[in-house]
């Protein structure tokens, strides 16, 4: 495991750990590779010439990846995912050529680096993939008879420059996202350790209070004392001690990173298990929407814990009146689990930090529920994100194929 500190050190020349390339930095890299308005213009001229060949380039690109086991492993979603990726690659190629190569371009192309982190694509494949595209575009320039030798040279130069820019954006985003991911993980681990220590230290005093209460009870019974006020306070102390014990238990749950023990689990059973123990107020409806034949290959205990955290947040958001919906569906090769409420929603500023451990917008929240839910999702090879929505909050967990429906052939491995 690479530590964030080691990673920071290995990028000693890059001061922006965990932050994205700014438009100013983008402009500076453009100057460095010599990319200017003239380069943009040359690429715009190349765009219509390349257009009829884009489909072939895209096809060839993914055939090459499919032929390479290690690269193909990053594309776990099978044919459906490849079809989606083909579309995005074609769109990307059109944008690379047509521009405009401005701040919006930077933002939209940075997302591609993020996707690569998400699917754990080995970094070296970005270079080889980019070279593949470079070879194709260079061939198009060379084969186009209408270009004179000078235009051809300038155009090939512009292709080189723009693809260098792309690599710079991609690697920068890749690095920033990886650093964020590692930092979040380390932060959670540190908090978990602290939580475990605190929890451990509190258990002895709590045990003492509890056993003292036991002895008080014995004494009262022996002396035959019945007193309403004493009883009330006895029960109150006992209830509060039990509440403390429950909090400690959840802290210890967070501290312990458990391995995923996956087994075939019906999505509707999982969602109903989460909803079952809830007691929402009369004005709140909690709906479960899951196809009966959707089977997930997941650790049901851990996933129920993650969903429980999301649903409890949703219930708290809608308060006395509203709607909370838990949905499971299959999207392509992925299984998607969603928790949606129609409460006040999440402020954009909070949305950025909501998965940071100890971040909370609630007076009584610990700020541990969402990072724990995300960690569980990631342990399953999936993602958990908050989706911008018009109204309320929308959390979306995407679990990749191995956590998705078990195919009949794969089912043969089940005992």
């Amino acid at each position: 495991m690479v530590s964030a500190a080691a990673l920071d050190a290995s990028f000693a020349g890059a001061p922006r750990m965990g932050t994205r390339m700014t438009p100013d930095q983008f402009a500076s890299i453009k100057r460095y590779v010599g990319f200017d308005a003239a380069s943009s213009e040359l690429l715009r001229r190349l765009a219509p010439v390349a257009e009829p060949k884009l489909e072939q380039i895209v096809f060839d690109f993914y055939e090459t990846i499919r032929a390479h086991p290690e690269a193909a492993a990053a594309i776990a979603g099978g044919a459906a995912q490849v079809a989606r990726l083909r579309l995005s690659l074609a769109r990307w190629l059109r944008e690379v050529l047509s521009g405009p190569h401005d701040a919006n371009y930077l933002e939209s192309h940075a997302r591609i680096g993020r996707v690569h982190v998400r699917i754990d694509l080995p970094q070296e494949f970005m270079f080889t993939a980019m070279n593949r595209i470079r070879a194709h575009l260079t061939a198009i320039v060379e084969d186009h008879e209408a270009y004179d030798p000078r235009t051809r040279r300038l155009m090939k130069n512009a292709v080189d420059q723009v693809l260098d820019l792309e690599l710079a954006i991609m690697l920068d985003t890749y690095r920033a996202d990886l650093v964020d991911k590692i930092r979040a993980r380390e932060r959670l681990a540190t908090i978990g350790q602290l939580a475990a220590t605190v929890a451990h230290e509190l258990r002895n005093p709590l045990g003492t209070i509890e056993s003292s209460l036991f002895l008080v009870r014995q004494r009262l019974d022996r002396l035959d004392v019945t007193d309403g006020v004493l009883e009330k306070h006895y029960d109150r102390i006992r209830g509060q001690v039990q509440e403390c014990s429950a909090t400690i238990q959840s802290l210890l749950d967070l501290a312990r990173e458990r391995p995923v023990t996956a087994r075939a689990t019906a999505a509707c059973d999982l969602l109903n298990r989460v909803v079952g123990p809830l007691a929402p107020p009369a004005g709140v409806t909690v709906e479960v929407d899951a196809p009966e034949d959707l089977i997930l290959e997941v650790d049901p205990d851990q996933l129920a814990k993650a969903l429980d955290n999301l649903v409890r947040n949703a219930l708290e958001a809608v308060r006395d009146r509203g709607r909370v919906r838990l949905a499971a569906s299959r999207q392509g090769a992925d299984a998607v689990l969603e928790v949606i409420d129609d409460g006040p929603g999440i402020e954009p500023e909070a949305r950025r930090r909501i998965f940071d451990a100890l971040f909370t917008t609630r007076a009584a929240g610990t700020g541990l529920g969402l990072p724990l839910a995300r960690r569980i999702s990631e342990a399953h090879g999936g993602t958990l994100d908050v989706i911008p929505s018009e109204r309320g909050a929308h959390f979306r967990m995407v679990l990749p194929e191995r956590a998705g429906p078990v195919a009949p052939t794969a089912g043969a491995t089940e005992p």
Binding site: N204, L206, G207, S211, S212, L215, V241, S245, R256
Partner: protein
């Protein structure tokens, strides 16, 4: 023949808790010897009917203590108490270790007494 009071070796470094547990045990007819470390416990291991020890102790751990007791031939049943909710450890309950039972802190006094009575009755003369 007079009925002998049963003897518990209680190893717990949190003083107030040790006092309370001793008091609860006394109410059920047990004499308790309290040790705050595993090393001290080894000095008092003669003629005990049951050992109750915390897992985390200054110096040797509860598990190390129980292993040391077994090496010295002390066969009294051992109840390990832990604030750590380690499922692996809790499953030690089913055997395979020198530990006979694992209880999670905070201990419910009724549960503790039930376990103690169960273990003592299982091995009535374990160490005499």
């Amino acid at each position: 023949m007079t009925l002998r009071r049963r003897r518990v070796l209680l190893v717990e470094d949190h003083g107030p808790l040790a006092e309370n547990v001793s008091e609860i045990l006394a109410g059920r007819g047990f004499d308790t010897v309290v040790a705050t470390t595993g090393e001290a416990a080894l000095q008092h291991a003669e003629a005990v009917d049951i050992v109750i020890t915390d897992l985390r102790l200054p110096g040797m751990s509860g598990l190390q203590l129980i292993a040391a007791l077994r090496r010295r031939g002390v066969q009294a049943p051992a109840l390990l108490v832990t604030a750590f909710a380690d499922p692996g450890l809790l499953s030690a309950d089913s055997g395979g270790h020198d530990v006979d039972r694992v209880l999670q802190k905070p201990i419910d006094p009724e549960t503790l007494m039930a376990r103690v009575e169960e273990l003592v009755s299982r091995c009535p003369d374990s160490n005499r």
